[in-house]
């Protein structure tokens, strides 16, 4: 009988069960999931619910497509289990991220023969065109919302991007 066992453990300490019940009630009322209290040689830690972060992490790492069919190679959705490439690398360039406001294909220049809109190190000003994202045959110009200096171009020419993907970093 496990509940018995766990209470057995508790009863070896000098803790007042009524007090603990009060704390648990407070946790319920305020939606707390963890309570930790240290005082002299007394240390009480109450935790509610499952360790959700862990479960989510495990579930996120499910192989996309179950690893059965040969996984289609697209660069759109990063394999959920793999550590993400850019952004969080220790040596990632500093700066604020400019993320894609739409789904489509990323182009750095208006046409193949034209020069790139911008390069790393360029100074940009608000309203300046940074790139084009093609969606449904429409070329959408993505413009800077602030001025600054380009520290990174995160996406390769002609690559599909999804909503929220990092396009540039600007400082």
């Amino acid at each position: 009988m496990p509940p018995e066992q766990s209470l057995n453990n508790l009863s070896t300490t000098s803790v007042d069960l009524t007090e603990i019940r009060k704390i648990m009630k407070l946790m319920d009322e305020h939606g707390l999931s963890q309570f930790q209290f240290e005082k002299e040689d007394f240390n009480l830690k109450l935790k509610k619910g499952t360790d959700l972060e862990e479960i989510q992490k495990l579930l996120r790492s499910l192989p996309s497509g179950g690893g059965q069919a040969p996984a289609p190679v697209t660069t759109v959705a990063p394999a959920l289990g793999a550590p993400p490439a850019a952004v969080s690398e220790p040596d990632a360039p500093a700066g604020e991220e400019i993320s894609s406001p739409m789904v489509g294909t990323f182009y750095r220049k208006p046409s193949p023969d034209d020069p790139d809109f911008i390069n790393v190190g360029d100074t940009i000003s608000e309203g300046q065109t940074l790139c084009i994202i093609e969606a449904m045959k429409v070329m959408n110009e993505i413009k800077a919302e602030r001025s600054g200096t380009i520290t990174q171009i995160c996406v390769d020419e002609g690559t599909p991007v999804q909503y929220g993907d990092a396009l540039f970093r600007v400082q």
């Binding site: 862990e54 959705a77 739409m102 789904v103 449904m136 909503y163 929220g164």
Partner: protein
Amino acid sequence: MFSRVLVANRGEIALRIIRACRELGVESIAVYSEADIDSMHVQLADDSVCIGPGPSKESYLRPDRIIAAAEITGADAIHPGYGFLSENARFAEICDSCNIKFIGPSAEVIRTMGDKNTARATATANGVPVTPGSDGIVADAVDGLKVAREVGFPVMIKATAGGGGRGMRPAMNENEFKSQFQAASKEAEACFNNGDCYIEKLVLEPHHIEFQVLADDHGNYLHLGERDCSMQRRNQKIIEECPSPLISPELRERMGEASLRLIKSIDYRNAGTIEYLVNAEATDFYFMEMNTRIQVEHPVTEEVMGCELIKEQIRIAAGEPVSEHVLGVEPRGHAIECRINAEDPYNNFTPSPGTIDLWYAPGGKGVRVDTHVYSGYTVPPYYDSMIAKLIVYASSREVAIARMKRALSEFTIRGIKTTIPFQQEIIDHPDFIAGKYDIAWVEKYLKEKELE
């Protein structure tokens, strides 16, 4: 057959479609909002694309983003599921113009059946009964009584200007017609400055019965029997079953024939559902509307008929005929579905989004759970509150009820409130067990409970 199907939906129906694709050997692409990254439909698809932030109008309701996602992933078809863009004729047209097959009927048919008046007229023209009544307003009480006699009592007298329950009076028989007409007319005159009234047949204690239909490019038109969706609260279905405990084989045949006439007349394609009101005596039925898409409650039909509607939808859209085993289908047993919503049934059904600390779903014989959630999943606040469908299937209605009771008692969800305790009350109620409930049952039951 298609090579890649994009699923333009979320939650359990997205996962349902992804599973059907996998079993058909077709790749599936999930689209998702930022709020849905943890949904199991994203994890189990072959590929996935984030199309916007949480709110639907910035993601699942954006045709441009969905089409762009289809383009960059090379999808050759889009399954719209239910809700969102599934009955949006314009979206079906955009798909066509982009050479992406919309898995559903043509934009034209969606538009026809989406307009209440046109749908009603189409039904009438094909001998499918609609709630009868006057053609527009009646001149006076005498004129109104003539119409009421024609359509048969009881009738509802409705002021054209009426609203909020005002200018509306039922007349149960000839004797009370005149006084009720005058009451309705005077009230409307006083409240809205317009006493004009029209007459409509009043269906007492009506049942919501819907017929599942399928049609392909090869001349096959068929119906797969009915579902009883009368157990609803504020027009939201709570429990559905197949077959209906109300409908006789004779009425089933008549309703099935009417349904086939209707879909043939509009040259319907793919899966659809025709909703009817049936009177308490189960002698008459009246066309309400047609849904030109898959329904939430389609699994109860799947279980009883031993078929798969999502796969048939995909096959039909790809130009294939309806499967052989579906053409020769025979019903077997009884199925019941409970929609498990993240709502607090004891606090006016207020939504209860949040993190699910523990999710233990029932299993074993005859139990099917369609869900995109799991232990640790957080229900986002942006969408409708359904988090799972619990479907049971058994050899008889009696066993199905016992099974649903057993399954609901096993279902353990911690962290959020759900409708399960309320569904347990219904499943245990003598009225449900006897199959005696109409679309007003839940409201009546809740009122009685409140009085206690």
